[in-house]
Symmetry: C3
Subunit: 142 residues, 3 copies
């Protein structure tokens, strides 16, 4: 049984979904672990992880529309916590409603994502950020 850990920086430009599937698959396939468990951890409370369809960009637009309606930015709703602007508290709420972590079984050196599944970092702040993911892999070479 072996382990590998990697820190990945994802630069974001604005609120929205950033696909990290290929970066993650590439790193997993470079390790000498064919069967195991991959864990992705997002080190933030105003950005999060999401597994979504990677075929249609419309899915991402509709998803963002939904979250904007569900968690209105400050001004439309009054938040106590608004130190960093009207998108500060909504970012924390959106992160609470999505995922900070994913663990995916690995077979043949590849996480068992379904045909349409992509892994996304969801930036919830409106300004650019440098986001950090930690990847952990445990398993065996065979």
């Amino acid at each position: 049984m072996k382990q590998a850990i990697n820190h990945v920086v994802v630069p974001t430009r604005a609120r929205g979904l950033y696909e990290v599937t290929h970066q993650i698959l590439d790193w997993v396939s470079d390790q000498d672990i064919r069967t195991g468990l991959l864990t992705v951890w997002c080190r933030h409370t105003s950005a999060s992880l999401l597994v979504q369809e990677n075929a249609s960009p419309d899915v991402r637009t509709d998803l963002e529309d939904f979250f904007r309606r569900l968690v209105p930015d400050g001004g439309q709703v009054r938040y106590r916590h608004d130190d960093e602007g009207p998108d500060d508290m909504p970012a924390h709420i959106r992160a609470a409603l999505t995922q900070t972590q994913l663990s995916i079984p690995v077979e043949n050196a590849r996480p068992v994502l379904g045909t349409w599944q992509g892994i996304y970092l969801y930036e919830h702040r409106t300004s650019p950020h440098r986001r950090e993911l930690v990847l952990h892999l445990i398993g065996t070479p065979a």
Copy 2:
């Protein structure tokens, strides 16, 4: 340290919760691993996983009522992505709000679910589907 992987197909008839607790517990108890970690991965973006009370069917009905109000089907709300019908995009949003993956510690060859906890596959589409879960178990025989 050992590992085991299994692919499980769950046929669904319509939108709703399908309990998979017993299938999962049975598979875990059949492996030669008493102490470890079980991971369940759902290979879809329009179906997901949910841990819920397995005593009262009313809980499942109320939960479905809640999600139907929170994420209205197309027609009531306009979605860009509606290739597969009015339940297509709502299914992706419901999946984003629930879980694609669960990891549960295993003691005495049994995932440590609480007394009232059941594991459900949540079908978010209105038509029947064949859904696939991947189970991964890592641990030791003692």
Copy 3:
């Protein structure tokens, strides 16, 4: 490769967020495992886990306000399942929208939480409860 498991009881006084970060970090640092994966499992369907900012208490108040608006207690909305009172079914829905489980990579005997990340037990019932978490750690001493 080694494993360790621990059961932790968290007494709650009322609805709200209870920080468990330090308890969890202390237990991890006491194990002889420097590199690995920590999993936290919540054995309930009316309490859950949340990763949130641990700097500002306003974040927790705004978060609770949000969930109270999103999932109104019985009386404002009619639920079938109300055996244990108007906060019974809302507790199940809030748990469904947050996390029952977290898995965090461990480096240098410490889960790789970001600077502002704290781990909270979210009590969704209005009365006091004794909640149980199961901690599982797998990894190596080096």
